[in-house]
């Protein structure tokens, strides 16, 4: 289906989210929509799928003017969207997910639908079991399920919003192959992303957004620097690959075993050097989180010993670890890291050690203002943390870290952040490494792991690889290990 957008305009209060967008997407193409967070990509997609109505402008489907009134209306007209977090129902079965919301008699024909799921699943070489519960599936499989469902409903346009966040390299390859196949069958695919390399790899043409405007349409062959320039309006340098790894062993893990009710990790031996950065790769839920929580003192190993600076810390609690210079930045910033409802100033008051009963508001404000400046946080001392954007929340978390730290544990430190923020955050972390802090972090972005780690551990189904030197490995090699090959 051919999509034409003419003079689309949308404002939220003072924010001009879409400013006179004109874009034509012919059928059978994979159209990339590239831009930073807040560039207006999502707003445009929400207009196209009926969540929002444009303030002015026209949408034409196959040259017919339409008014899309709701997400359901969009699907009826043939436009389906795969959301970043698939809009499905985790505690329910695959087949019920398919049936939910379908029109028809009181009792649906389950047998028939089950067969259709299997047929579609085979056609695209997916392994979807109609009787499985959605919550037992990985994000990648849930995406596959949602794509099948939308195709089953007969969509002619498939919009994907940042679909590669949280899926494995194998699943990504499969997803891309599927999209290419769909496009060759005449479907229109709209691929929304802020990841340059993915857009370059997949898309037939790319539209770049910046601050609510469509700033450029690019056809292949692509040049990365051209994209970067369009996205930021300036050239952005990726930091030098510098290592501050020393020869001093800071942490030593001896025959560590970790367990929760799903997973068992055995015999982990590792020495973390001062100033070293270790990246943990693997599908989510393969044990990286257990590993980080063990290093943070939040989880007791079932066997083995942890030595910090030669002292046995096994079985000590979180506060003992904390006092010896260990800090933990969890992935869920608002749930575990920050306290929603409290202001930035209040966060700084809580994180600084004070002995007085009453808070010195003035100095707390001053401190907060100073940190806001150094950490480039877009907010004021009285902003509540949940009002900050994801990137600024992450900056706030970094600003809250104590001055002298020896080990920083991070889960997905740059997830959901734009490239500029990510680069900035890593430059700050590198400064910490220069100060002899070691860093252990998880990420689902292999490029990030390769770019910043000194050594890499791969986790797969309860197995932990020996440390891999980041200089002598490749994305492909890591992808294979993550997918369970080569063990």
């Amino acid at each position: 289906m051919k999509i034409t957008l003419q003079h689309i305009d949308k404002s939220f209060g003072k924010v001009h989210a879409n400013d006179d967008i004109n874009l034509t997407i012919p059928s059978g193409t994979i159209q990339g929509i590239l831009g930073e967070n807040g560039a207006g990509k999502s707003t445009l997609m929400k207009i196209l799928t009926g969540y929002y109505q444009a303030d002015s402008g026209e949408i034409l489907l196959d040259d017919m003017k339409v008014k899309i009134t709701s997400p359901e209306d969009a699907v009826v007209r043939g436009i389906g969207m795969l959301h970043q977090d698939p809009l499905d129902f985790p505690p329910m079965k695959v087949i019920d997910n398919f049936l939910l919301g379908t029109k028809g008699g009181l009792f649906p024909n389950r047998k028939q639908v089950e067969n259709e799921i299997l047929r579609l699943s085979n056609e695209f070489d997916f392994q979807i079991n109609p009787d499985a519960f959605v919550e037992t599936m990985t994000v990648g499989e849930r995406q596959q399920l949602e794509i099948l469902r939308l195709l089953w409903l007969g969509v002619k346009v498939l919009i994907l919003d940042e679909p590669t966040t949280g899926i494995s390299a194998n699943q990504k390859d499969k997803l891309f192959a599927t999209l290419v196949k769909l496009a060759s069958q005449g479907l229109t695919v709209i691929f929304v992303s802020h990841k340059l390399e993915e857009v370059e790899q997949l898309c037939n043409r790319v539209a770049v957004f910046r601050q609510g405007k469509l700033v450029g349409e690019v056809d292949p062959p692509y040049r990365t620097d051209q994209f970067v320039y369009l996205m930021f309006g300036k050239n952005v340098e990726v930091g030098e690959k510098a290592s501050f790894c020393t020869d001093d062993t800071y942490i030593k893990l001896k025959n560590i075993g970790l367990e929760d009710y799903r997973l068992r990790l055995k015999d982990i031996n590792l020495e973390i050097k001062s100033g070293e950065i270790i990246g943990l790769a693997g599908m989510e839920g393969s044990g990286q989180r257990l590993f980080l929580r063990m290093l943070a003192g939040l989880m007791r190993p079932v066997s083995g010993n942890i030595y910090i600076d030669g002292v046995d810390f096994t079985g000590k609690n979180y506060h003992v670890f904390q006092n010896s210079g260990v800090a933990y930045l969890p992935a869920s910033r608002l749930e575990e890291g920050l306290i929603p409802g409290m202001t930035l100033t209040e966060h700084f008051i809580l994180s600084e050690k004070h002995r007085e009963l009453f808070v010195d508001q003035r100095s707390a404000m001053d401190l907060t203002e100073e940190r806001i400046k150094t950490f480039n946080i877009k907010g004021t001392p009285v902003s509540q943390v949940e009002q900050l954007s994801g990137g600024n929340q992450q900056r706030a978390l970094l600003a809250l870290l104590r001055k002298r730290l020896r080990l920083i544990l991070m889960e997905h430190p740059t997830r959901g952040l734009d490239i500029e923020s990510a680069i900035w955050i890593w430059s700050k972390m590198k400064e910490r490494c220069k100060d002899c802090a070691s860093i252990v972090f998880t990420s689902s972005d292999l490029d990030e792991i390769l770019q910043y780690s000194d050594r890499i551990l791969v986790f797969f189904g309860g197995l932990v690889s020996p440390p891999i030197n980041a200089k002598s490995t490749t994305v492909d090699e890591l992808g294979q290990l993550i997918g369970g090959k080569g063990w």
Binding site: Y52, S70, P71, F89, P91, M92, D96, L99, F107, D260
Partner: protein
């Protein structure tokens, strides 16, 4: 089997009926994502209302209808304040629970211990003559038979029909349900009021069928509504398990009555016993989710660990993910 045993079993089936209606009603409401905490007050107010109306009109049907209307009206207040005004469901529900209870006692005072009419037993021909099963299940008043139907219909509706799937959807993930065409707010209104009407029926079921009459505070209905709420959770928001919970509670109550005549245990203990037992069951059901249990399990040897974690997993239930969360179309 002895006659006394059969009477006891039949008593359990009968005693469970009002609790069953109330907890399945609440089950439906919570499945849609709304908690109606007013159950306890609703039952007392509708027990009184149903009794008074049937006494004055001579119509049992009008009595039950009054109960359902009271329940629906209270639920409508909960729905309006939580869905439209986006106020705290807990606060409004709790206040209504207290208000309706006291309103019931106050308005019902002139009718205390007055003679009324009540539902008589209607043995089902044929079925009631089956040995054991007949007298236990098929020699009751109509409300008991209605409760059998309620369990089956609710279960089939929720899990096997298209609108039932959507009911699960709006409580689980309203944003996704909206994307699939649901009018989330309207449906939440519908199921809150429908569930409330079922809760409201529980009142006249006491005063017109199970615990006949109206005796004000001495009717002994205070507390039943809270148990119904607990049973909804214990039953994991699944009508079959909820029904099981209701029968368990009925059984515990009946056991208390039987033991009163045969042992020296103080009557207060027997009356109160079902409540801590329910709490204990709730703990057992939900303990599998606690982190310390996972830690303890991890430290156990292989064999018992597997068995225990299997049991815990089978027992474990999770509430509708968006229970109590207001919804905005965006």
């Amino acid at each position: 089997m002895e006659i006394a045993t059969l009477t006891t079993l039949a008593g359990i089936v009968e005693y469970a009926v009002p609790v069953l209606f109330a907890s399945i009603g609440e089950n439906i409401t919570e499945k849609a994502g709304i908690t109606n905490l007013s159950v306890n007050g609703t039952i007392i107010l509708s027990a009184m209302g149903g009794f008074v109306v049937s006494m004055n009109t001579g119509s049992l049907l009008l009595g039950f209808l009054t109960g359902a209307l009271i329940g629906a009206a209270v639920a409508a207040i909960v729905a309006f304040s939580s869905i439209t005004l986006k106020q705290s469901q807990v606060a409004i529900g709790f206040i209504l629970a207290l208000l309706c209870r006291d309103l019931g006692y106050f308005l019902g005072a002139p009718y205390t211990n007055k003679p009324g009419i009540f539902l008589s037993k209607v043995p089902i021909p044929g079925l009631s003559e089956i040995p054991i099963l007949g007298p236990v299940f098929f020699n009751h008043s109509l409300v008991v038979y209605a409760s059998y139907l309620l369990i089956i219909i609710t279960f089939v509706y929720m899990y096997k029909t298209r609108p039932g799937l959507m009911l699960q959807g709006i409580g689980e993930r309203p944003t996704a349900a909206f994307a699939r065409g649901a009018n989330v707010k309207a449906l939440r209104y519908l199921y809150t009021i429908l569930g409330g009407a079922l809760v409201g029926l529980a009142g006249p079921m006491y005063s017109l069928a199970v615990k006949i009459g109206w005796a004000g505070q001495l009717s002994g209905l205070d507390g039943v509504g809270w148990i119904a709420l607990a049973i909804t959770i214990f039953g994991g928001w699944n009508p079959l398990r909820v029904a099981f919970g209701a029968y368990l509670f009925g059984g515990l109550q009946q056991l208390g009555i039987t033991l009163q005549s045969t042992t020296d245990i103080p009557i207060q203990i027997l009356q109160a016993a079902p409540f801590p037992l329910m709490i204990f069951t709730l703990l057992l059901v939900n303990v599998g989710r606690a982190e310390w249990v996972e830690r303890e399990l991890a430290a156990m040897p292989e064999k018992p660990r597997k068995v225990i974690s299997k049991i815990l997993r089978a027992l474990r239930t999770s509430p509708p993910a968006s229970l109590g969360v207001p919804f905005e179309n965006d």
